[in-house]
Assembly symmetry: C2
Homo-oligomer: 620 residues x 2
């Protein structure tokens, strides 16, 4: 088990992870930075490129072909069938020679005729390995979690040991091992040279048939619930020297832009290597390819909203003061307490254009983002403007790394006005930005969770689900450990169709207040368009929580939504949707409530929808 000190690990991806045909997948993998690919047999069979041409195409793209897969149902108690399988294998060996790859994946059999007797199984594996060796090839044998007899890595390893052939080794797949709850620690005891291949996949915890779980719900590492660093460490400790290769079957990725999915996939491997290196004893096993950890986040610096002229009076009614005007652009700075909102009147419907986070080291954060393939935001900058490091999030929102008060302070781009929220007493008690709510595009929800996790260092919470008027909605929050930066991500469970044409859920900025009743009263008095909540909601709240009559009356009056858990309460008052697809909400957290008001989201969404329909009726 001698190991050389490593540089960055080689990365590979199975073509089955990506949508389209080989002609789409190979360039996508190469452009994302992968070193190699596993060629999935159905992709090759459907391709007009003969194997030799695939080899050339990959070579042109700088991709190695690390594996040909899968070869199913090798072993058989029926000698005739096994003979036919060997014949099939010889054909596939020819394909592999033409592809220029030396390793074929052989999955444990799921067929009724699968061999239970380990001696016969070893004999058949040995026969196949002998034929492979004669052509300079090798067999990577993998235990499927639903294999008929071989369904754990110790069984596949026992069969490989018994077969005892130099051209026969193991393929380990994190899904098959972790989905069954097997402990990966003992992998460290397998000789590294017998670990021929490593396939990596994450997944959410689901209580369902493991085959269906595997076929539909795998995720890239860091997007699910498996502890992949704890899996990778014993594999590396054993001396595995091959690529980190992704094999992810996922319904959404299968139909999403392969170029985008490949970048997401490659990012997941960089982050996995980083996380593995960061595990105390893992640091001698693998070099951290990202090199710089995510600098500490200290809060939301600002949120930039694109808006027309209708937003300013709402911000004013919510107690914000226009404290600055951009030197060169039609951008205003509004402030109250620790909350800063930039209003960009360059055009376009009201929406969240940019998030800015306070970073302990904005330049290091930008370098890290670049290393993780976050697309750098193309910006036009005037001569006197701060050079803010910025990238584009998966939903198109710009993300700025700031250090307000430092030399390259963004606030210098603004000419101060006479107004300040504090001095003229117009504030309503907003203390800062609690979080930003971003409805995600359908294809990029899991990508977004990984993006924020890796690029910003935020931790994703578990995925939730609620029933909205137009169908189920999936929710997932990402936040730093100290809860100074929070984002609430949502996506519809199914892509919207004809019944909700053109309706995308609004984004929002949640403003932190200490007393939502006082804040909402002041805002309403100043003319803020608060969202009306139906009486039925308060009748139900009364039935459930037995609040005081006064409190309930105030809630009803102001449209307060009240979510209560054992940890505390989440009180919010929303504005109507302002112009395009954005609204503001005042949020008071009581106790240790760590949520985002999703229990009440269906009521809020129904109320917003009613207002929209009413406006459309007025216009028509």
């Amino acid at each position: 088990m001698s190991r050389e000190p490593r540089t960055a690990p080689r990365t590979a991806i199975a073509t089955v992870c990506l949508s389209g045909a080989l002609e789409d997948k190979l360039p996508a993998a190469a452009a994302a930075g992968f070193d190699g690919v596993e060629i999935f047999e159905p992709d090759l069979v459907a391709s007009p490129m003969p194997p030799g041409e695939v080899r050339l195409r990959c070579a042109d793209l700088g991709l190695s072909i690390d594996l040909y897969q899968p070869f199913r149902d090798l072993d058989s108690v029926d000698p005739e069938r096994f003979a036919a399988t060997l014949r099939r294998a010889e054909h596939k060996f020819g394909v592999m020679e033409a592809l220029g790859t030396d390793t074929v994946l052989v999955c444990s059999s799921v067929a009724p005729d699968a061999v239970a007797d380990v001696d016969l199984l070893a004999e058949q594996l040995h026969a196949l390995a002998e034929r492979a060796a004669a052509r300079g090839l090798r067999i990577a044998y993998e235990a499927l979690a639903w294999g008929r007899h071989v369904n754990t890595y110790d069984r596949s390893w026992a069969a490989v040991c018994r077969a005892d052939h130099p051209a026969l080794g193991l393929c380990l797949d994190s899904f098959h091992i972790l989905s069954r709850g097997s402990d990966p620690a003992a992998i460290a005891d397998i000789p590294g040279e017998k670990l021929f291949f490593l396939q990596l996949a994450d997944a959410p915890h689901l209580s369902m048939d493991v085959l269906q779980w595997s076929r539909h719900h795998r995720l890239f590492p860091g997007q699910g619930a498996f502890d992949l660093p704890a899996f990778l460490e014993p594999v590396l400790r054993a001396g595995y020297a091959g690529p980190l290769s992704l094999e992810v079957f996922n319904d959404v990725f299968r139909q999403a832009d392969p170029a985008r999915a490949a970048v997401d996939a490659h990012r997941s491997l960089l982050a996995l290597a980083e996380a593995t290196a960061a595990r105390g004893e893992g640091s001698d096993l693998i070099t951290d390819p990202v090199a710089e950890p995510a600098p500490e986040l200290r809060g939301h610096a600002f949120v930039e909203l694109s808006a027309d002229e209708s937003l300013a009076p709402v911000l004013a009614a919510l107690g914000f003061a226009r404290t600055g005007l951009h030197r060169t652009k039609p951008v205003e700075r509004w402030e109250q307490g620790g909350a800063r909102i930039l209003v960009n009147r360059s055009g376009g419907p009201a929406a969240v254009a940019a998030l800015a986070v306070e970073s302990a080291d904005p330049l290091a954060a930008a370098r890290r983002a670049a290393r993780l393939s976050a697309p750098r935001l193309p910006r036009e900058r005037g001569p006197a403007e701060a050079d803010l490091a910025a990238v584009t999030a998966p939903d198109g929102t710009a993300v700025f790394f700031c250090r307000t008060g430092a030399e390259t302070d963004w606030t210098g781009d603004f000419v101060p006005t006479e107004e300040t929220a504090e001095k003229d007493g117009t504030g309503i008690g907003v203390t800062g930005i609690d979080h930003v709510g971003l409805a995600q595009p359908f294809d990029h929800f899991d990508e977004a969770a990984l993006f924020y996790r890796t690029v910003l260092g935020l931790e994703p919470a578990a995925t939730g689900e609620f029933a909205a008027p137009f169908g189920l909605v999936r929710s997932r929050a990402v936040a730093d450990a100290r809860r100074r930066v929070r984002l609430a991500l949502t996506v519809s469970l199914l892509r919207r169709g004809e019944w909700a044409p053109g309706v995308s859920e609004p984004q929002y900025v949640a403003l932190a207040v200490d007393d939502v009743l006082a804040a909402a009263r002041a805002a309403r008095a100043a003319g803020a368009p608060l969202l009306a909540i139906p009486d039925n909601y308060y009748a139900d709240l009364d039935a459930r929580l037995a609040l005081s009559r006064e409190r309930l009356a105030a809630y009803r009056d102001l449209g307060v939504l009240h979510e209560e858990t054992a940890e505390g309460a989440y009180l919010q008052v929303c504005t109507e949707v302002l112009g395009g697809r954005v609204f503001l909400t005042l949020v008071q957290r009581v106790g240790d409530h760590d949520g985002y008001g999703w229990t009440d989201a269906p009521v809020r969404m129904a109320a917003h929808r009613r207002r929209r329909l009413a406006r459309e009726r007025v216009r028509a």
Copy 2:
């Protein structure tokens, strides 16, 4: 257990089955023909209509409110919590009085504090029933399949017996009972007057957590795999006199047009009542509301394709003769063997415009279709034209019921030409229409299976799945028992998005031949644009099946796709996509193969996609 002879059963639907808000759901349910609704609490809570207004709205629409639901987690080992629950109940009783409904659903508790002791549980149920009775209301207690202690109907029945209160009875839900594999037969022994409510849902067989199965995958009766007639029969035998009510949680229905979904739902209940009445001993329990069984189908009468001028030479090359011209419309009749294709040049891209089936009794078939709310096709008809009974299928395809050769023969609408396929020897051996392949719109796949099952009397096969270039595809065939009418339905597992913009899968007409090699050779010689299949496919076929060198060469030459199962083989040669979204395929069935070539569909789809992209490149 005395029973009155019945008329048609009353029907109801839970508002949770439908998308939108109450304002959308109630009119949809009424328009579809439901007699009543179950008001799902979150729908009411999110509604601006106070309960009294909901009552009036329902009355205006002719809907009764049959149930208020759900009331969760009633019982508790914590006396304080139980007291709070009774308080909550009194509030909900007030809501029910305002709604004008007398029955509330109480689900068995799933909470950690749920009562295990049946005496205490009975005591708490009794206390609730006592309060309900005081207000003229009643409690329908239901065992959730994942209830903490009460999770089968015999346990809920035991608790109801023990509580022994006239205002307390059972609610039975087919999903909760059949998902656990419970035998419903013993329901017949429960006194009918204690069966307060009945909820019906179907589901596919899935091996997953029953809660998730229930929340996402329920279907309307007849769309899934449960034997609902065998469930309904003992319920009726017990003397249940309430409505047949649907409670279906389904991801797709939740986001589909509620008006369409309600029609689908109502149709499912009519068909369920019919199927239950048709069970030997069931006929005294329930009147068949449909009254006329589906007349026997005897084959495909014709398929009508909308097309431009490019289709005619392809049909000619495939051996069809233009045997007739429509008297008044730009429609041609093409024939070969038993296959008839109408070509409608009225405009629009090439597509399947209509299916026509040979019916033993077209008028009875049309009456049945109308009874099952199939939308009648609006048609313009010339004075001398046959009055063909026609309806519109869920995907918009027209469906005609014909009896070719009878008095109202559709063939009389056509002026014969000189051409006949047989006489001039141009045929290539097409004997008839094997089936029609119809890619379904995303929201209407399950609706389509039920439509064809009920309206045409075709039997749906199990749902399958395959991986296509743009994502997973679900497949389901519907066919008559004698396989004279077959339809192959497919739908993408997720609605297509940005990565496959505007790409809808093509439809096709499969033409039956006895010798696909001879037919394809003749077609190609005549200039038919046969779809080229990659060499890699044949290399794999050779590896798998060891076909003779000659056969393989012929396959490769002609682009034959060969699917083999234990039952036989399915050989097909496809044309390119013709103009719009339709292609033709020559199909030879060998042995007892009963499939549709779905194993090879990914290869075919990739080849069609390549041709499309190549054409687009030429155009650009």
